[in-house]
Subunit: 507 residues, 2 copies
């Protein structure tokens, strides 16, 4: 008599289910990348259908009754699992809760309304026309609030906290609130102090126009310096630069080339190269597993901002970058002198647009969105009142009033796309990056001198085992505490800004 | 009391299920396109996982018990459906039968072995090493034969017929056998006659090297002449040109640029542009439906070969093409004279490679593979006997003996990839293209004169309503009979070859 083949246990079956969904998700990100880089315009409708199909099938896989039963059975045997497997199971349960909490009809309505609203937003922004945006946005908000309420109940969080948890588990309002309150208080006077100092500096020489090909050549050299290898990445141009967490071994990203503004592509390339290196270093043995994913939006943003802001704008790195610009871009060498690049790189701006904001003001742009969207979800702010509330907060935090709605409350696509709870990561990532970088450069004094040679290896030797390779195998707070010996706080970020913008020798 | 919302009927539910699978299939083709054009090498493992996930989820959707129940219920109400809906249902049933017939374990084994075998094949071909290929290929064949037997039973076909049905429903052995027998008899003496005539022609001037950029510029002009619009397609370079039936509105394709052989990219571009135009013209209201797909491999190949062989090598088109080559490629104008291009374009080859074969010999390359793979599936030929059988058939049909295995039985990837029953379409498509083109040019005498101006519109005006827009809304035989008034037969193809290669004035 033959013994029957052993059946896979509940954990193994859950892994099969969730890694299958993980692969579908990677496929969806590939379609999204193509949609923003290579797809002929006429393919848009079908591409939307294909991506919606992937979302539907994934949600059916991981939000189903069968998934819940499997998870329950696997959780009952959790004592027999290793720690990484238990972490995996924990992430599966979270994904299940998000997928199962909101009725499918709501998810479909959200997708449908926001698809339509994004097209309306494009015109509304161009025409400073809030009225045409307001009604469909109010409809979307009704659906979003229902989803938030359903998830809040399932996850034991506030409705807005449940929205954050979707992108950024472990980074809740309790962690954000004191940090944002501190920055809202301390950044405006810091900005005033920096402005006063910079008023005495000589005006930087203008960079002028730089052809796209030269900028692309520099982007490739920067990606190589960061440590990307040609067999694992590619850079494409896209209107809005992005790095999609792609698939293991393929961490392509995009940048944007503006002939009139070569600084943009340099910073965007460093930013996306940072995201991509995080993805590249995730543990291959947990590829497609929930616990094998990056630890969330703030952690991801900390890795891009470490490269763009901390390393990439450091005095040391600029001594490497400026001669490289001279060599690659050509023209008047005085423009590409270290002093001039340094001067240009340090300037605070006077603008209204988040994505163009300087390093010091940037968190304030995020904080105001955080306050507004939390009020929208809570029902404390109506859609009609957004423009006035926006201008009031902008004046209060940044000290200026936007000249138009397109430069005010209509500037970002996020709300039109149904993204709520996502904005905080942009500022939390900056705070986190400063805390990591301060500790890294203290642990290894060679990190900054190496950057002066364009060598990122010592930096990654510090961050890879502490952040990248730990993926979602542990929680956010433990990652931060293990790496820096402290809970996340605003002090390292503030010290960093003071050092760079007030104490560093004048360019 | 409120009335309950009406439930979607069984047909509507089946449509939801099968269009969902259709969207996943389109997503998979996109991933495949990227894998062959843009993906960094290091992404190969993960890409394989992602594509396998799509295949698994699709098979679960359309091969399930639930799908069968839905289809049964829908078939019971077929009397209430319109003809296109009944055609749709018919195609769903066929897809279900293919998905449900073979046990999942066999499909998985096939995917696993063939994945591995393709890598072995690359080395085996390079080293003329049949021994290393033979054992894993024999293993694959065991699995393929089991799948064929299971599908044969489910579909009421022979095992090999069931393999064909997967790619080419309605084109069975009963249709192929007499056509291939006729061609195997009539082409060798025709080739001898053409060779004798061509021996008296002056040798064509060599084209020489043409830079990739110039070839790419010509490819874009040809695609535009064919009628492709920039908002709906793009051309990328790939080692093996292919057109993936993509998604509605996005019919991108690839070509291959060889600096030493500009003819290759021209013919590949016309070929793939023909496939892509078929896809572009499929009825949008049946997008992602089974009946909205192209009518199978032979019909698809007829559309590419109509452009590459019938229109694209016609004397009329060459009078348009030759000056365009002169203008785009530059250099010695005598090389790009109509007479010289015509002379070069007409020559029979003396080679051993199917994909490089001339128009007259090409079907013989296909016929020998058809005979061999049918014998392999039937168990009448063992793997060990393939090299000898190959050489014997090549000698018999084409009159030469391949100098190596790499130029013999190891030249094509199809068998290593587990593709059986696919080869016939390459020759059936040529036969079909000739029958369509003969009828089209008789129905509209302006088609050929228009080609002399690079104008394909009259040709597509004929073929679009007769073939493209009918998709899979009717069966193969009806499409052919409705368009040409005849069942498919070899006579138009033979008349075409005699006209072009024996009767047309010498270049």
């Amino acid at each position: 008599m033959s013994t029957p083949a052993p059946q896979p246990d509940a954990y193994a079956r859950a892994v099969d289910r969730f890694t299958l969904a993980g692969k579908l998700s990677a496929a969806g990100m590939m379609l999204s990348w193509d949609g923003q880089t290579h797809m002929p315009r006429g393919g848009a409708w079908a591409r939307g259908e294909e991506m919606a199909a992937l979302t539907e099938v994934s949600a059916d896989l991981i939000g189903s009754r069968a998934a819940a039963d499997e998870l329950e059975e696997a959780e009952a045997m959790a004592g027999a699992l290793e720690a990484p497997e238990r972490a995996d199971l924990h992430e599966m349960r979270r994904l299940w809760a998000h997928a199962a909490a909101a009725p499918k009809a709501l998810q479909t309505a959200k997708a449908r309304i926001s698809q339509n609203l994004q097209a309306i937003w494009v015109d509304a922004r161009a025409n400073n026309d809030f009225a045409s945006f307001a009604v469909p946005f109010a409809e979307l908000l009704v659906v979003i609030r229902e989803i938030a309420a359903a998830k809040a109940e399932a996850l034991g969080l506030t409705p807005y906290g449940a929205m954050i948890d979707e992108y950024d588990p472990g980074v809740g309002e309790a962690m954000i609130d004191p940090i944002f309150a501190d920055l809202a208080r301390s950044l405006p006077p810091l900005i005033a102090e920096v402005r006063e100092r910079q008023a005495r500096w000589p005006a930087p020489l203008l960079f002028g126009e730089v052809p796209v090909e030269s900028q692309a050549a520099l982007s490739r050299r920067l990606a190589a310096a960061v440590g990307h290898r040609s067999e694992n990445f590619r850079i494409d141009a896209a209107p809005h630069p992005f790095s999609v967490p792609h698939s293991p071994g393929d961490v392509r990203f995009t940048t944007r080339y503006d002939v009139t503004n070569p600084r943009f592509s340099i910073l965007a390339t460093l930013h996306e190269a940072g995201h991509a290196m995080y993805e590249f270093n995730l543990p291959r043995e947990f590829a497609f597993h929930p616990a094998g994913l990056a630890r969330g939006a703030s952690m991801h943003e900390s890795q891009s901002l470490s490269l763009e802001m901390l390393a990439g704008r450091s005095r040391e790195f600029l001594t490497f970058l400026a001669p490289l610009m001279a060599e690659t871009f050509g023209g008047d060498s005085a423009v590409w002198s270290v002093a001039n690049v340094h001067n240009a790189w340090r300037r605070l701006d006077n603008g209204f647009i988040r994505v163009e904001a300087d390093e010091v003001s940037y968190p304030l742009h995020v904080i105001m969105r955080y306050r507004l969207e939390r009020a929208l979800i809570a029902g404390d702010l109506t859609v009609a009142d957004i423009p006035a509330a926006w201008d009031e907060l902008f004046e209060q935090l940044i000290g200026r009033t936007p000249p138009s709605l397109g430069q005010g409350c209509l500037q970002d696509i996020h709300w039109a796309a149904g993204l709520f709870g996502y904005f905080p990561n942009y500022a939390m990532g900056a705070v986190l990056a400063a805390q990591f970088f301060e500790r890294a450069t203290a642990d290894d004094p060679q990190i900054l001198p190496a950057l002066a040679r364009g060598d990122f290896a010592p930096y990654f030797a510090w961050v890879r085992p502490r952040i990248h390779e730990r993926a979602s195998l542990t929680d956010f707070a433990s990652l931060v505490a293990d790496a820096t010996g402290q809970p996340l706080g605003p002090e390292p970020f503030k010290r960093h800004l003071r050092r760079r913008y007030l104490e560093e020798p004048q360019p």
